[in-house]
């Protein structure tokens, strides 16, 4: 072996482990952000890119209303630099807030500043937590997260602002695209019936369910848990079936994170078809069209428009 070959090989064998160590060190030292839901985690990933590691407590398809944290979740939150939650009661029994509090970590409520839609139940006004179904509200989530990340990691200010600004433009286009798609359905035919009351913001924004004051129609209330105004009641079920018949609805929709049995029964009772599956409280698995927030909204809108137009 010549001298120069020996030198080159030595450099290669010495540099490789060194570079690996540098990379591992950088990865290890990234800020760790823990999000409660898949939507919030997606917003955080889009804003922070490679500068932070974002982990989500809920797996795709899991129900945030009834979720019970595990010991692994506690261990995860213990390592967090920042915790993010949806708020407005989406995380049943405040599980994310409790996890963060227990670990002594700061938790940000992403719906801060959003004017919540309220539904009346049992003499109480209940704020609907599914605010992300309006892209304009999603922009508020992005602004809230960005604001906090800038405080946490000011050295990445230009990076985060550039990413946020680009994403807000995408949300603006998403909103415009949804309006264009929904316009393919006659206003009187825009009857959206889903498994639970998750689509109020969507209905209000895109003029669905005119007979119900542009609010969601569902046999189950705002939560699948046992909170006030949550769960299924016979009156609510009757209201949905009557509403379907009166409006001449073409289809009802099941949700990916909710047992479809009830909505299938209602479809049979009203004599209409199940129009497809919508993503509601959770986004889709990695590799599906709904693995991102924008992808999830597009998938939902295409399913709704195809079934109702």
């Amino acid at each position: 072996m010549s001298f120069w070959k020996f030198i080159l090989l030595s450099i290669f064998f010495l540099a490789s482990p060194a570079l690996t160590l540098v990379y591992a060190y950088e990865a290890e030292n990234r800020l760790l952000i823990i999000a409660s839901t898949t939507q919030v985690a997606d917003f955080a990933r889009v804003i922070t890119g490679d500068r932070c590691e974002v982990r989500c407590v809920l797996a795709p398809g899991a129900d945030p209303h009834t979720y019970e944290p595990t010991p692994d979740d506690i261990a995860l939150v213990m390592k967090a630099d920042l915790c993010l939650q949806n708020g407005l009661g989406l995380e049943g029994k405040n599980w994310m807030s409790n996890l963060a509090k227990g670990a002594g970590k700061k938790v940000i409520v992403c719906t801060d500043g959003i004017e919540p839609l309220a539904t009346a139940a049992e003499g109480q006004q209940i704020a609907d937590p599914h605010a992300w179904f309006s892209p304009a509200n999603a922009a508020a989530y992005v602004n809230n997260i960005t604001r906090e990340i800038l405080t946490l990691d000011p050295s990445g200010k230009d990076y985060y602002l550039a990413r946020s600004s680009f994403y807000l433009d995408q949300l603006r286009l998403l909103d415009s695209w949804i309006k264009e798609q929904v316009n393919l359905i006659l206003p009187d035919k825009r009857v959206l019936v889903t498994g639970h009351d998750a689509f109020n913001y969507f209905c209000r924004e895109y003029r669905f369910n005119p007979a119900n004051n542009y609010m969601s129609l569902a046999p189950v209330g705002w939560s699948t848990g046992s909170e006030v105004g949550a769960g299924m009641t016979p009156q609510r079920r009757k209201q949905v079936v009557d509403g379907l018949k009166k409006a001449g609805a073409r289809a009802v929709f099941v949700e990916t994170s909710i047992n479809p049995k009830l909505i299938r029964e209602i479809a049979a009772q009203a004599g209409i078809v199940v129009g497809g599956e919508l993503y509601s409280d959770s986004m889709g698995d990695a590799g599906t069209d709904a693995q991102s927030y924008i992808g999830m909204m597009q998938a939902n809108v295409l399913t709704i428009v195809e079934a109702l137009r």
Binding site: L150, S164, R172, D175, E180
Partner: protein
């Protein structure tokens, strides 16, 4: 014979048109470069005229992080604003504003206008014209996709030789 006459007439007409165009261009260049009366760069007044089909305004999709708020209308170069006062642009009404910070060499103005959600169904346009002492040196019309903002760049050169010559 008739064919030759027709060709001659056409040649004369086209020649006159081309000559007129060249003359107009030369007059415009003369005014801009000030060949007869040399002027300093600092003596040139740069003005921007904007005409939009909409009134730029912030909406729900604007970046509202405390220290960096999205202005409804931004004219920037290298991250710095070139207009000192906020413009209240109204649909169809041209508005003039002074441009600060024009440099010798290549200038690239980033023109960004937020199109409010109320205009989301249609494409919107913004026309930008840059004047140097009243002569047009660059102009461009920017279009949005329906629902999108307007973002574009306006490029023009400010000649170095002229300024060096003028400074003597």
């Amino acid at each position: 014979m008739r064919i030759i006459a027709a060709v001659l007439v056409w040649v004369v007409i086209i020649g006159l048109v081309v000559s007129f165009q060249n003359y107009s261009k030369a007059q415009s260049q003369k005014l801009w470069h000030g060949q007869d009366t040399p002027i300093e760069l600092s003596q040139i007044l740069y003005t921007l005229e904007l005409t939009a089909t909409f009134a730029p305004a912030s909406d729900s999709f604007a970046l509202t992080v405390s220290e960096v708020k999205s202005e409804p209308l931004q004219i920037t170069m290298a991250g710095k604003s070139l207009i000192s006062a906020a413009l209240d642009l109204q649909p169809g009404k041209p508005q003039l504003t002074d441009l600060d910070g024009i440099v010798v060499g290549h200038n690239e103005l980033l023109v960004k206008a937020l199109v409010p959600q109320s205009y989301s169904g249609t494409s919107q346009a913004l026309r930008a014209v840059v004047y140097a002492n009243g002569a047009i040196i660059a102009q461009e019309t920017f279009w949005s996709v329906p629902g999108g903002d307007i973002t574009g760049t306006l490029n023009f050169e400010v000649k170095k030789e002229r300024v060096q010559h003028d400074s003597h």
